[in-house]
Symmetry: C2
Subunit: 316 residues, 2 copies
């Protein structure tokens, strides 16, 4: 059995054929023709799928789609995707008519969570929480080996849980969300603030003297060089992310929390610091089981493999 | 089919026979003989169950037990229950030998969550979050009509999710947990602080001039009389509880959040204020489904009915 995974991005749509071990057999991409509108994009996706698979092959089980935005996964509808300029697009139904196979759609972070748990770094686990640390903070919940998505598939918004009542403004309208402290955007803001306070910080050299060149790496890389202001920024970042993870641990008591997204490029440096922060703060007594902390490992193909996993997990 | 529900408390153990509609057919209680140790207590429970049911009746399906403390529900072991002075007590196995039926044990808040969802105020729903607002803040998670308890059954500790990093000290060791703002204990602390600041507050009269007589009702009742300091205390309480509930809504996107515990005696006054706080703050766009907010309705029998529900939900 194999499935097709579709990873819709603002620039391009990546499509791949994935086998039941999560192996990507072949892949291709098509430019996201946003100006062409949803029907054109769905038609482009359908054509590329049909060029990659034989529609008469009984081994072709279905199509999973990962899409950014507010997705009603129960209905297969993209309720709203700002960067695609989509509103109420019946994506699954329309694509299914072209490919004649079961078609499921979910939020891209949910797909990544499922992909990493079924086929990636979390494959020995069944109950995991996934966080993407990127421009925002996305989330996914896998319980008993299946996605938990909530009513209309609109849960798992762990980035939008308040860590500091009346804290930093979040893009969602509330104040003090995890995203407002632990996204790359927030880390860059905090790095810039620290640089403004400390003109002798090595971060200035790393950022070529310009606040505009600060990235999610600046504080991390300079903290490794021993720069005090950078260390403070990183310690604060670890503290807020650690507190958020402990919250999810106390709610779900998962086997593992998996981290993806750009910040995760810090790998072991990030993971060890988080493990150290969390190890004595897990709720309860000595008997409470600990949770593993893992960096996502599927990399660039995570979107395709995770989307295909939607079909595999529902077929099990 | 009927089941027995056992509600273990520090003073007494309530035991009842519950039918498959969640109706309590008969009940009795036995004093909790803490000094006698766990074997004595388990023997007392077993004897009372056998006096309430006929052990040869094929309609008697099993025994569910709700117990305070850290429960390993997968193993049926009470890992630690401070108020019973129990440590690593294999409660389910030992009781099963006496009653010769399937025996399950879970945390008391989890049982209440399941009872209210299957047989109480949440019976039209399958995905609910339950919070008990008492001395502490307990939690329970029902997904797809069954308890979600996490690894070893030690999740659903929603009271121990941080709302304010570096905030009020919580009993769990961390700072700023929901429990440290929304338990009756926290409400009493905040009421006392407000009274110390405002010697003319009506709360002094309500508490008979003594800070020691402040209860979880003081601020609520005086806010209804228009007392400004009391209104501030209640508004703050609603804000923190509302933020916590919004967090759980964004994670689970449940159909409803059910509130139990002493504070819940405020009924509609509490529920309306919370609905008002949450209505425009739900994550996402206009399309995001809202969640209902409900006050628990099983009352004094919630523990027994919820414990029995452990067996009913596993038998479905």
């Amino acid at each position: 059995m194999y499935c097709v995974g579709v990873d819709i991005g603002g620039m391009s749509i990546k499509i791949g054929v994935v086998d039941s071990n999560g192996k990507l057999i072949k892949k291709d991409r098509v430019v996201t023709d946003i100006a062409g509108g949803p029907h054109k994009i769905i038609s482009d996706i359908g054509k590329l799928i049909l060029s990659l698979v034989d529609p008469y092959d009984n081994d072709f089980a279905g199509v999973g789609i990962g899409c950014p935005g507010a997705i009603n996964s129960s209905a297969g509808v993209v309720d709203r995707a700002f960067n695609l300029n989509w509103y109420k697009v019946p994506l699954a139904e329309e694509l299914m008519r072209m490919v004649n196979r079961r078609t499921l759609v979910s939020n891209d972070a949910n797909c990544a969570a499922l992909g990493e748990t079924m086929f990636g770094v979390g494959r020995t686990y069944t109950d995991t929480i996934f966080l993407t640390l990127g421009t925002g903070v996305g989330g996914g919940i896998v319980l008993g080996g299946k996605l938990y998505e909530g009513n209309e598939g609109k849960g798992a918004e762990m980035g939008h849980t308040v860590l500091v009542v009346d804290g930093e403004q979040c893009s969602c309208g509330r104040k003090g969300c995890l995203e407002a402290y632990c996204s790359a955007t927030a880390l860059i803001r905090d790095t810039q603030k620290a640089m403004e306070k400390d003109k002798s910080s090595k971060m200035w050299e790393y950022a070529e003297g310009s606040l505009d060149k600060v990235s999610g790496k600046t504080a991390f890389e300079c903290s490794k060089l021993g720069d005090k202001s950078a260390i403070k920024v990183v310690d604060r970042y670890i503290k807020y992310l650690g507190e958020g993870m402990l919250n999810f641990a106390n709610i779900f008591r998962p086997q593992a929390i998996i981290l993806g997204g750009g910040i995760c490029a810090q790998g072991d440096y990030l993971i060890y610091k988080l493990k150290d922060y969390c190890k004595d703060r897990n709720y309860g007594f000595a008997d409470t089981p600990r949770f593993d902390i893992l960096a996502a490992q599927l990399g660039n193909d995570a979107g395709i493999i995770g989307a295909a996993a939607l079909i595999f997990s529902n077929n099990q």
